[in-house]
Symmetry: C2
Subunit: 195 residues, 2 copies
């Protein structure tokens, strides 16, 4: 039996990222869950921000931002960066900030994975600004890279230890691997094709 919950956008889990942007030349970071993959080739992602969000000013000004994926040991700072505004607090002081090829997309050294992004399309829906962006460069902390083979590969999610979120307002840890993509369904593929 199904129960109706009204118009609830219950996507789960929600990945937690820190968006980095320069505002009036200074780095600022904000925690969001409104981010996701648009496509791998071309490498496109999006973020969605409230139009009043301090970070929105920087993304509008520069057309660039960063995405930084924290690990669970950063939870206190990550949650804090979702509570307070860069208008009031210099949140960049909480982290070791670095820049890559783009000079207006500040990144957080402590996060295992960082992406520099350039806006290619904007969509405004009521008070939300959706910035669709191409990934320009991706940075991974070397201790999260395996060099057993060439080129190096990024370690499994258990090692990256990301922070997940859900609309029950809880943060979660990642669990165990349970299968390989485009493989776990092969058994059924063989069965069906014999029919």
């Amino acid at each position: 039996m199904k129960e109706k919950f009204g118009a609830l956008p219950y996507i789960y889990p929600i990945p937690i990222a820190l968006v980095g942007a320069n505002i009036a030349g200074k780095p600022n970071f904000s925690t969001i869950g409104d981010t996701g993959l648009v496509g791998i080739k071309p490498p496109v992602i999006y973020i969605s921000l409230h139009h009043n969000h301090h970070t929105t000013i920087g993304v509008e000004q520069n057309g660039t931002f960063s995405l930084n994926f924290p690990s669970t040991d950063m939870l206190t700072k990550v949650d804090y960066c979702g509570i307070v505004s860069g208008r009031d607090i210099n949140k960049a002081a909480l982290f070791n900030v670095f820049y890559g090829d783009i000079t207006t997309a500040p990144m957080i050294d402590e996060c295992p994975v960082n992406m520099e992004c350039r806006v290619i399309q904007k969509v405004y829906i009521q008070h939300r600004c959706m910035f669709i962006a191409e990934v320009v460069q991706t940075y991974v902390t070397d201790r999260y890279v395996s060099h057993e083979n060439t080129p190096g590969t990024i370690l499994p999610l258990e090692d990256l230890d990301p922070i997940l979120y859900a609309l029950d307002n809880c943060y979660y840890r990642i669990g165990k691997p349970i299968g390989v993509g485009y493989n776990a369904g092969n058994e059924l593929n063989i069965l069906e094709s014999k029919k």
Copy 2:
């Protein structure tokens, strides 16, 4: 030390969902990871599909689709629905299909959470079709709803037991809860405000 990985859209984790659409009046389901939250109020989500994707035809025709979040016991079928096309296989036969208020957004009864969605904006980026949609109605299987309080609340993610994915091409299970949103950072909030 950071290592450069090129333009890699390494969002993680990626939520795994089955998109439901009617094509020429028949239900079809496809597994995707290119989905996420745009905003809670208004309740807006998106999906991104290859323009050649069989499901794209249905979403373009009807302007509607469903999002269905499977649990890990459905992994074989879920992966299979990402391997084969609705052009060749009647994937709806794998599931108990139901419809809600929208007659062109088929949903999967076995999935704990389902959403009926109506497209409000389309964005075309090279070969990708990004459908931004409002959630019209959300359905939750009753055994995943707690009625300890009124109104009922959806059980934690460990109970919903979703399938996660990453660009290492592995599926993962959800882990343990580690904190409460807009709360885990309060300790730091107090510290900083005393400065």
